[in-house]
Amino acid sequence: MAASDGWDSRHWYDVRFRTLAWLRCRVEIPELYRAGQKPMGLYVSGTLSTEIWWNGELLGRNGQPAGNAKSETAGDINVVFFVPPERLLPGDQTLAIRLSAHHAGYRINTPLDALYIAPYQNPLSVIRNQYRPSMFTVGALLLAAAFLAGMWLRTRTAASAWLALACVFVLGQLGAEVSRAFWSYAYSWHATRLLAVSLFSLAGGFCLVGYLTARFAGSRRWLIPIVLVGVISIPILRVPDLITILIIATSLVCGLGVAFVTLRRGQRDAWIALIALLGALIVLAHEPTQFLDQGQFLTFTLLLLVFFVDHIRSFDRTSRERDQAQLTSARLELELLKKHLRPHFLMNTLTSLSEWVETAPRTGVAMIDALAKEFHTLNRVADKTLIPIEDELDLCRTHLRIMGFRQDLEFSLEVEGDPVDGLMIPPAVLHTLVENALTYGAYQQDTTLTLTVERGPRRALLTLRVPSKATDAGPEGTGLAYVRARLAEAFGERWVFDGGPDNRGSWVSRLEFPGVAQ
């Protein structure tokens, strides 16, 4: 409606009613149309049906205006009428528009969005120009959505899905918004289109905040206000643009809430999200009326891309941490297996075995059985993080049996206290303590080790008592790093492991950890 379009608004007045109305005004015609240099078009945009009268003669019709909804035929939302030069009179022209808007479907200030004169062309291409900057974002959003969807398929992480959906819904909103520039529809569809825009923004905002809660392990309660604003405002407010703005503002505020709480909790990487959301909110607050048509999609695309990059970085970090954990597990498994291939254990065992085979073949065979059992159990448990304690006790007893054959003594393990069923323990933890006891104890008579089990509702306490002359921490030796690493792998930081002499000729090791019942 710029002045150069030749629109003279002096005679404009408000049209608030839905009945059949007349609009009359005088129009100044720029010289170039009189000379016939350019074809002249009269553009009418809005949720209305029109009949255009030019200097008292009918120029054309968009739909059929009428006194009631039933007899009205809805016109297209954007139309252009060609005004032939021969219809122009000298001086101002008289334009009269007969209009009605019974099918708008929602409350409107004015059914007429725009009325202007400009060189004749497809009215949609004019609107397209207006949306051009927003359309540049389509490619970026599509690419991000596809990548995130692929990421979700591979990793099944909720954050990827939320962000992919947010991209898709913002794309949907953009599509609903921009469809106006590609499809000249009857104005009766306009309300539906705007409702679609609102619903897409609702879904987009929901997923955006959903992503933030997944990414930062935030409370899902931040999603409630968005749903409430959507559910309440859509049926009540009936002003589509206002609804959409409200939804977007609520989503941004809730997102800020998630980021802020995360930051307060000490998770420093939330500041990127906080700044991005704050930026978007400032852009929205700066020009709320223009935001939907102009800033919105660029702002949202930028916001989503920031989240996208942040998400990839966080994903990268997570997978590196997972790889590290796997590496640790592999190292522990290897260490456990190597322990049994260590020459001191294996070759001494084999030498003793040779002696038994040559001097007492039956004992030799019994020793072979014990060895086979130890390697079988080992093979079964080495790659596990937690094993049933029964397996662990088996491993200990078989080891004691083998060591018994080597020293020609009876070594045994007694278990007392609470029942052990369902108790899980990292593999070869007790085994390592038993092994250390034998290595440093250098027992020369039959020896019994005692394991006491105490179980609470959340914790299990294992106490291993072995005869020892040691009075300091020295003789416990090298396997302890393995024990600690295994406990850390299985229980994070929720374990306690210590040991010391009890001044009654025993070394006491204490293990406390969550008594996982499985």
Binding site: H344, N348, S354, R406, Q444
Partner: protein
């Protein structure tokens, strides 16, 4: 032959003692100790010809044990599971390294080496017990070894003199070929000999690169001359 077995694995020790007894028959006087401390106590009153030594005793570092053993007057044969440390053990001056598990044939071979006194691989160090514990001397640094009763006086390139517990006979067989017996009381490092001199009266001597002079017995001169060429 007097042998001390140091092994903390009951059944392994039993096997070792059984086989040594079978091979040596009545000639053997075998003793078993479980720890090095017990073994050293025993050795103080009971010199032996050889020590059969496990390198991994109750979790102790094998090479501290080894240094202690090879510094003594007896020969040392290691019986160990840790074969990857055999080279190092030979450098310390052990006579043989028997890997676990072993059989009678392998022990017989080790006893043959003991009889001949020459190691399966030449040592790089000579362990000497000094005031500050056991010192490992690089063998190439030895210029001359003089007999001194039951001990040997080792003369080093820097002029230092240290006492070693083995006899000249045992050392002659243990040390690499460049060490030759020149006299009842002297072992020479031929690499450090400047020239051999004939003296009036069919007497001979070696002049060392550091200027020292060492008598050479009549019976050894021919051998030495050949070795020097």
């Amino acid at each position: 032959m007097k042998i001390l077995v140091v092994e903390d694995e009951t059944v392994v020790a039993r096997r070792l003692l059984r086989m040594l007894a079978e091979i040596l028959g009545d000639h053997a006087s075998l003793t078993h100790r479980r720890t090095l401390d017990e073994a050293m106590d025993w050795l103080r009153g009971h010199p032996v010809d050889a020590l059969f030594l496990d390198l991994n005793l109750a979790g102790k570092n094998g090479f501290d044990i080894l240094a202690e053993a090879v510094a003594g007057p007896q020969q040392t044969i290691v019986v160990s599971a840790n074969t990857e440390r055999a080279v190092e053990a030979f450098e310390y001056g052990v006579l043989d390294f028997v890997a676990k598990p072993f059989d009678a044939a392998r022990l017989r071979l080790a006893l043959d080496r003991l009889e001949m006194g020459s190691p399966a691989a030449p040592p790089r160090y000579l362990a000497v017990r000094g005031a500050r514990g056991i010192e490992m001397i690089v063998i190439d640094a030895i210029v001359l070894i003089n007999g001194a009763g039951n001990y040997a006086e080792v003369v080093l390139g820097d002029g230092r003199r240290v006492l070693h517990d083995k006899s000249l006979d045992a050392l002659t067989r243990l040390l690499p070929a460049q060490f030759q017996r020149a006299h009842r009381s002297h072992i020479l490092n031929l690499n450090d000999v400047a020239r051999l001199q004939s003296l009036p009266g069919s007497r001979y001597r070696a002049v060392l690169k550091n200027g020292d002079q060492v008598p050479v017995s009549r019976g050894r001169i021919k051998d030495l001359r050949q070795q020097m060429i």
